[in-house]
């Protein structure tokens, strides 16, 4: 009985210290999550800065790109017989 009591007491102590150790690990993980979240936010900010038109437009101009004067649209007429693709026989609907 005494032996059982001693073993139970030691087991309890071991369980308690394991729990405390896990709690410290959890606190470290939560801290790491916070750091990753902050890093994620920074990266989202970096993305937003990179896609800013005020940054991209001058770079595009340097590369010789221009804003198109007109937009071309291709209209596909879905007839009962099937699509008539512009440029094939039949009415040319491309604009």
């Amino acid at each position: 009985m005494v032996l059982i009591g001693v073993v139970a007491f030691l087991g309890l102590g071991f369980a308690r210290t394991s729990l405390d150790r896990s709690a410290f690990d959890l606190a470290e993980l939560n801290k790491a999550i916070g750091e990753e979240t902050a890093l994620n936010r920074q990266m989202n900010l970096e993305i937003a800065r990179l896609v800013n038109p005020a940054r991209i437009a001058p770079l595009a101009e340097e590369l010789g790109l221009v804003i198109p004067d007109t937009t071309n649209q291709l209209l596909v007429d879905l007839t009962p017989e099937g699509p008539v693709v512009a440029g094939t026989e039949g009415e040319d609907r491309s604009q």
Partner: protein, 591 residues
């Protein structure tokens, strides 16, 4: 053996044992007493005292909500930064420290030196510095220099969206624009954390812990299209350069919903520093000139000039007083509503009205009057309405009242119809004697594009909170004219571009319509000057309007003084981009 006689003394060793035994017993009794005192009598007090030493209470700052454009691009967000501070008492070589840190932070060394040599316990060196820069400063390992985390508001789009987002102060409270209007929602709700910590500051597991989490602020999803916003701003900046104007303002609305696709002004300003980016501000004597972050599209009022004629003619058509083909006989170049008001050719007194270009007296149809923007013809049309009905339609189209847009400090404008004023109705008919905002004019034209239904403009389409996305409350709508009148007015607007004063507003592939406006500005003496405010408001495509663009250019140079010369080209460039951005199918119109 006989017993020892009474009075015989105990042996010294036995006395010592007894004394020691008594001392030990007393010690144990003392310890026992102390144990009972601590563990029983004072137990709760001491436990409470211990807990108070270990317990830490911290406010949990909520994350301020983000602001997005209609495509999900970030316009504003809060990130963690570092605020660098110093304890002057601990600074050993303040001059050297000021030079070292000032160089890294781009701060004034003299100002820094003054702070580092002050007798204060604590001085800020610079607040809300990016982590990279802060780490460089802290990497110098200067005694007495420290940092603490502090959130900072970042605007990735910079000057492009500053007139929409507005800005916050150093403490993160909204001061202008959407940051102010939605400050309560964006700010969120602070939380509180109480927990036990050890000597190293670590949370004690299994210890007392009570956390009320902070509720993050809502995210705003705006109606702004960032690429279009940028394009419109660029066109405005180009117009300023070409016309040497004081400022340029553009509003782009979606006709059917009232969504604001772009709202720009030039000169531009930085939402972080609140400084205007205008070369004319370099070395300017009046610093107020260079803090011009007020949004004129919503807050500024001006006399709209001929763009107002849309309302006058629409009202007359709606009331059946005229039709498009009605001929107004003998429309002259000049009209006097007060005797001798037009006494001198170069001096228009109160009650004198003239057309922009001199012409012979002629019969003109309503369509011709509108297309050629005849002031006299429009006044003759307004005569058929009378002042009361004219005022009724001006108010119905939203002038003289706030539109209700979700923005700060919106101007209602002015309708000047003083009792006994003989000529106010005539002035109002052609866009004088009334003062409007560019947004009001855009909304009025949007009503014509929307089959006669006026709709409240808005900047935020929805808010996203911790419970999920929620829609903003519905907008107000009202019918101002019939769809038939709207259709007629759209044709008149198209004729202005195709045959009239708005030729520079034409766009390849789309049939557009609009109205030029050229209003003289009042001088300090209360008389009109040669300086103008040039404007153009238009819609496209005419057959199925999707977009309204309103352009106002303040004080262009003389060569660009009219709406047709300065504002119409800006309209064309912005409208073309807007139609492309929204993927509106061209209607095949060739100019």
């Amino acid at each position: 053996m006989a017993a020892p006689k009474a009075g015989r003394r105990l042996q010294p060793s036995k006395v010592r044992v007894a004394v020691i035994g008594l001392v030990v017993v007393a010690a144990w009794m003392g310890m026992g007493y102390r144990l009972v005192q601590i563990q029983v009598v004072q137990a709760s007090d001491l436990a409470e005292q211990g807990l108070s030493q270990r317990l830490v209470s911290r406010d949990l700052a909520p994350q301020r909500g983000k602001i997005f454009d209609r495509n999900g691009e970030l316009l504003a967000m809060t990130v963690q930064a570092q605020s660098i501070f110093a304890v002057p008492d601990q600074i050993e070589e303040p001059l050297w420290v000021a030079q070292q840190i000032g160089g890294l932070l781009g701060a004034d060394t003299d100002v820094l030196y003054e702070r580092l040599t002050s007798d204060r316990d604590f001085v800020y060196i610079k607040r809300q510095v990016e982590d990279v820069v802060a780490n460089e400063v802290l990497g110098l390992e200067i005694r007495g220099v420290f940092s603490h985390p502090e959130p900072t508001r970042i605007y990735p789009a910079g000057v492009v969206a500053s007139r929409v987002t507005g800005f916050v102060n150093i403490d993160g409270d909204g001061q202008e624009g959407l940051e102010l209007v939605y400050d309560d929602g964006l700010a969120g709700t602070p939380g509180k954390a109480e927990f036990e910590r050890d000597l190293q500051g670590r949370v004690i597991p299994q210890g007392f812990s009570q956390i009320v989490p902070a509720i993050p602020g809502v995210d705003l999803n705006t109606t702004i299209d960032l690429p279009l916003q940028y394009q419109a701003q660029q066109e405005c900046l180009l117009a300023l350069e070409q016309t040497h104007a004081l400022s340029c303002w553009v509003v782009v609305l979606e006709v059917e919903t009232g969504a604001v696709l772009a709202m720009v002004g030039a000169p531009v300003f930085d939402p972080v520093t609140r400084q205007t980016q205008d070369p004319r501000c370099d070395g300017a004597e009046d610093p107020a000139l260079c803090r011009a972050f007020s949004n004129f599209t919503v807050r500024g009022i001006y006399e709209p000039g001929s763009t107002q004629k849309l309302i006058t003619v629409a009202a007359a058509l709606e009331e059946g007083e005229v039709s498009i083909g009605t001929v107004i006989p003998e429309v002259s170049y000049e009209l006097e509503l007060r005797e001798d008001a037009c006494r001198f050719a170069d001096d228009e007194l109160f009650g004198c009205y003239r057309d922009f270009k001199e012409h012979a007296t002629e019969d003109m149809s309503v369509a011709q009057i509108f297309t050629k923007s005849s002031n006299i013809g429009t006044i003759r049309i307004a005569e058929t309405l009378g002042q009361d009905r004219l005022i009724q339609y001006i108010e119905a189209f939203g002038l003289g009242a706030k539109t209700g847009i979700d923005y700060t400090v919106e101007a209602a404008g002015i309708l000047n119809f003083e009792a006994g004023c003989m000529t106010c109705w005539a002035s109002a008919a052609i866009g004088y004697s009334v003062a409007v905002t560019p947004l009001q004019m855009a909304a009025a034209y949007a009503a014509i594009g929307n089959d006669g239904i006026w709709i409240t403009p808005h900047l935020v389409s929805s808010k996203t909170d911790v419970d999920g996305e929620t829609q903003v409350a519905g907008m107000q709508t009202r019918r101002v004219v019939s769809s038939g009148t709207s259709l007629l007015m759209r044709e008149l607007l198209a004729s202005v571009v195709e045959k009239g004063t708005g030729a520079a507003a034409a766009i390849d592939g789309y049939r557009v319509g609009g109205k030029t406006g050229t209003a003289n500005k009042l001088g300090a003496d209360g008389r009109y000057t040669e300086t103008t405010r040039a404007s153009f408001v238009g819609i496209a495509p005419i057959n199925d309007p999707k977009i309204v663009v309103a352009v106002l250019i303040d004080a262009p140079s003389f060569d660009y003084r009219t709406g047709g010369l300065s504002a119409a080209p800006v309209f064309a460039a912005v409208m073309e981009q807007a139609l492309h951005r929204l993927g509106v199918t061209p209607d095949g119109y060739e100019r």
